[in-house]
């Protein structure tokens, strides 16, 4: 494991992200990681809050295109996240909170997929209001998981 993370760190990508003095290197990668997070979790929040009963005049099926935004945000963050990891791989691979973050993201994505299937199967077309309790519970769980994933990611700088 350590050999692998040392190899990652000394790769051209790792060295560039860690050591380039360019504003287009680390600062831009980190900024894009934040933008991707905003798009991915922001789109999730819209659907989760709608399922919880906010903005009741928004037809739930009309929110389906938001899943494309989630994908775009996820792809941006998978790429920029890999770059940030590679730049300090030995340190990050030793941080338990990093694995907590990955686990929370994995479970959150799973819940997102379940919500999407539920929407497609039960709530379309026209939507059902108020949203059935299981869908509301999923939405609350989704909000909690994404909040936890963000907190874990931020804590990587401190723990």
């Amino acid at each position: 494991m350590t050999d692998f993370t040392i190899w990652l760190e000394s790769s051209a990508l790792g060295v560039w992200t860690r050591e380039s003095p360019s504003i287009w290197a680390y600062p831009t990668v980190l900024t894009l990681h934040t933008v991707g997070l905003g798009v991915l979790v922001g789109a999730n929040c819209v659907i989760d809050f709608r399922l919880l009963g906010f903005a009741p005049r928004l037809p739930i099926p009309s929110l389906a295109p938001l899943y494309r935004f989630m994908w775009a945000g996820f792809v941006v963050n998978a790429i920029t996240g890999a770059m940030l990891f590679v730049s300090n791989a030995t340190t990050k691979a030793r941080q338990p909170i990093f694995y907590v973050k990955l686990l929370l993201i994995a479970v959150a994505l799973l819940v997102t997929a379940v919500i999407r299937r539920t929407l497609a199967r039960e709530l379309s077309p026209g939507g059902i209001d108020p949203t059935p309790a299981p869908a509301r519970r999923l939405a609350a769980l989704s909000l909690a998981l994404w909040t936890g994933a963000i907190a874990a990611g931020r804590l990587m700088a401190y723990l």
Partner: protein, 135 residues
């Protein structure tokens, strides 16, 4: 029902925000590791430069009050803020540094460092003086 739901969602979010914000505040002021109410002055020769993201480091060979050899570990900003140091802080150069000392007893850490030559002439761009590293 809706009111109760709103309150529970709001408290859920508030808890998350607090959890994320508390250590962030500590980090951004660097107050967790360094005492920003104090200033310390260090003298020594540059022994090593680590210019990297998210934080760079400058190491100095120095001596403590009793004449024992010590190493000052100075935490700086990211690589983009350190372009001046490549030529401005050559290995072996004698420098004076002032900044905020690390809190942990027995350590010789500094952040928010201002660099000067031995005669007191400031080194580095204005923006590199007294900056606290942030992430």
């Amino acid at each position: 029902m809706i009111a109760g739901l709103r309150i529970s969602v709001a408290s859920l979010l508030a808890a998350g925000v607090l959890l994320a914000a508390m250590p962030a505040a500590a980090h951004h002021s660097a107050a967790a590791a360094y005492d920003e109410t104090k200033r310390v002055e260090a003298q020594g020769t540059v022994s090593k430069l680590l210019i990297r993201n998210p934080h760079s480091w400058v190491f100095l060979d120095g001596t403590d009050d009793k004449g024992q050899k010590i190493e000052w570990q100075i935490e700086m900003g990211g690589a983009p803020s350190m372009a001046w140091a490549k030529d401005g802080l050559p290995i072996g150069m004698a420098v004076k540094v002032t900044g905020h000392p690390s809190r942990a007893p027995g350590t010789y850490g500094i952040t928010g460092a201002t660099f000067a030559k031995k005669d007191g002439t400031p080194i580095g761009p204005r923006s590199a003086r007294g900056d606290t590293p942030q992430q």
